[in-house]
């Protein structure tokens, strides 16, 4: 008799790897082919997880059409099933998967579109953002500012791409003008994605501002983040950019580096 742990392992193999012979031996037919019984579970797992991915990546789905998306999703689900029961978290590595998925090779913009959509999906999950304690910040001596590390609005993320994924994304939003054929040579973008009151905003940043904000978002000290921005554009208005960050209420907290 198979121990429960082993039965569940071979059942999983029967669902995801089509490796069903072992588990079929343990399933009673009761008037129906055990294969058909197992298939009911497999069908539910694959279709509901495909639907989860469709709802997280609606533009990718529209770009490749539903049938192709289901084909890609099927491969993704079998290789990378969810790690937990909160399915809003499922799909974080879908863009990486698309990068290595041979049928997608002719569409090199797809992984970056998936990256952008994941950033949008995540931004929509957060409801409450605690603002920065301005009094505490304003009390910091100017000389100490370069050594600060910041926590940012948790809905923020940064996506850069050589492809015009922001234009493609906008063209697929509700109420967008029907797009003429999008010019993939239109150039790339540095994008800031953020949750806002009535949804999610996708904003184009100039490359130096992107370098600054992205560096701060990954916890780099202000001095170092400023260095990265100035390396992109030596004439970058750093002070103005910091004022803008404060005005945009980008920061939620800060610490002094020791």
């Amino acid at each position: 008799m198979l121990a429960l742990h082993d039965l569940q392992r071979v059942f999983k193999g029967g669902l995801l790897a089509d490796d069903e012979e072992t588990v079929l031996a343990h399933i009673a037919g009761d008037g129906l082919d055990p294969r058909a019984r197992l298939a009911i579970y497999r069908h539910h797992v694959l279709t509901t997880l495909t639907a989860t991915l469709e709802s997280a990546f609606p533009v990718v789905c529209q770009l490749v059409d539903k049938r192709f998306f289901a084909y890609a999703a099927d491969a993704f689900i079998r290789d990378h099933p969810p790690a937990g029961a909160c399915l809003v978290e499922y799909g974080a590595i879908f863009s990486e998967f698309l990068e290595g998925f041979p049928p997608c090779q002719g569409h090199p913009y797809l992984p970056d579109m998936a990256r952008l959509e994941w950033a949008v999906h995540q931004a929509a999950q957060v409801a409450e953002v605690r603002p920065l304690d301005r009094a505490r910040f304003d009390a910091i001596p100017l000389d100490d500012l370069p050594a600060l590390r910041f926590s940012m609005d948790p809905t923020l993320s940064y996506v850069s791409s050589p492809w015009p994924v922001d234009k493609i994304w906008r063209a697929h939003q509700d109420g967008a003008e029907p797009a003429e054929l999008l010019d993939l040579s239109a150039g790339g973008a540095c994008l800031e994605v953020r949750g806002v009151a009535d949804g999610v905003s996708v904003r184009v940043l100039d490359p130096a501002a992107y370098a600054l904000r992205h560096a701060l978002a990954v916890g780099v000290m202000l001095e170092e983040a400023a260095g990265e921005a100035l390396a992109v554009d030596p004439s970058f208005d750093l002070i103005g950019a910091i004022h803008q960050l404060l005005q945009d209420q980008t920061f939620t907290d800060f610490t002094r580096a020791t």
Binding site: Q8, K12, A28, P34, A39, P81, P82, A124, Q125, A127
Partner: protein, 290 residues
């Protein structure tokens, strides 16, 4: 000993699942439904969903019907998931917390379905241990729901209702009797639904679910699929009447999770259940533990 299932069990009337397409209308019109039920997994990551749940909670009791704990998995319970559930229980104070007699995770993969268990002594020990861990962490008793099944394992030795009864006896958990699941399981596995109902210890049934199912023809056989996507089928209402005769009036939840209709349709289903509950009350006679 009276088990503690949560602050204030719902009345023995019919509640509805709180579904995303209905939230706006429900909060605007505040229908006189006695309680709501949600999947806690949809709210564990916070966000706008949790905010609207908290708003609903101000006016309605809410019960939690979990799908992610995987009580039947052979390994350890996912502690991170259990902690997320506890945080949500502490925040929302649900009137009941229930989960499923099933498994979903194996080798770190969550398979997004309520998968079938072999009913053996080993499985009994595993599930009982997990229920006890959950009850200790939450500080309250939970309900276990009978699953809808599409297969039976050859090496099962314990009939499903007896398995549930033994779980209740060992752990002090209650039972969530899903009448549609009994009907679907009985059809799919050639069981007798009335025999199943008779085997459930009456005092342990704390909540009832009713829902719709679909008929699926495969290999010229009809299999019933528990898809919660339609009205409750007439034979399930009949089985529900049988259940009320055995268990007395029990808080009943109408589930409708796919092809979700207008809120008014769901409320009408709850009215049908309320009518049957009222008839059961009028018959009286069945003494239930409070």
């Amino acid at each position: 000993m009276s088990a503690n299932y949560g602050p204030g069990r719902p009345d023995a009337r019919a509640g509805i699942g709180l579904r995303a397409p209905h939230v706006g209308e429900l909060l605007a019109t505040r229908p006189a439904v006695p309680w709501l039920e949600v999947h806690p997994e949809n709210y564990m990551m916070g966000g706008a969903a949790l905010a609207s749940l908290e708003t609903a909670r101000r006016d309605y009791p809410v019960s939690f019907h979990g799908v992610g704990l995987s009580l039947g998995s052979a390994g350890d319970i996912d502690r991170r998931h259990l902690e997320r559930l506890k945080t949500l229980v502490d925040r929302i104070e649900p009137c009941l917390v229930s989960e499923h007699l099933s498994w979903s995770t194996s080798g770190g993969a969550y398979l997004n379905h309520l998968l079938p268990l072999p009913y053996t002594d080993e499985t009994l020990a595993v599930v009982a241990s997990h229920i006890q861990e959950v009850q200790e962490t939450l500080g309250q008793s939970i309900l276990i729901e009978n699953p809808s099944s599409y297969l039976r394992f050859r090496h099962s030795t314990i009939p499903e209702p007896e398995f549930l009864a033994e779980l209740a006896r060992r752990t002090g958990c209650g039972l969530l009797c899903d009448v549609n699941n009994i009907y679907v399981t009985a059809w799919n596995l050639g069981l007798d639904a009335i025999v199943y109902l008779d085997a459930l210890p009456t005092a342990t049934v704390i909540e009832i679910h009713v829902a719709g199912h679909a008929r699926n023809d495969a290999d010229s056989q009809t299999i019933l699929i528990d898809n919660h996507g339609s009205h409750v089928a007439p034979p399930v209402w009949t089985l529900y009447r049988e259940a009320l005769q055995r268990f007395g009036p029990v808080p009943t939840l109408v589930e409708w999770d796919t092809d979700i209709p207008e809120l008014s349709v769901l409320l009408a289903e709850a009215c049908t259940a309320d009518g049957l509950l009222e008839a059961a009350r009028a018959r009286g006679g069945h003494a239930r533990a409070a």
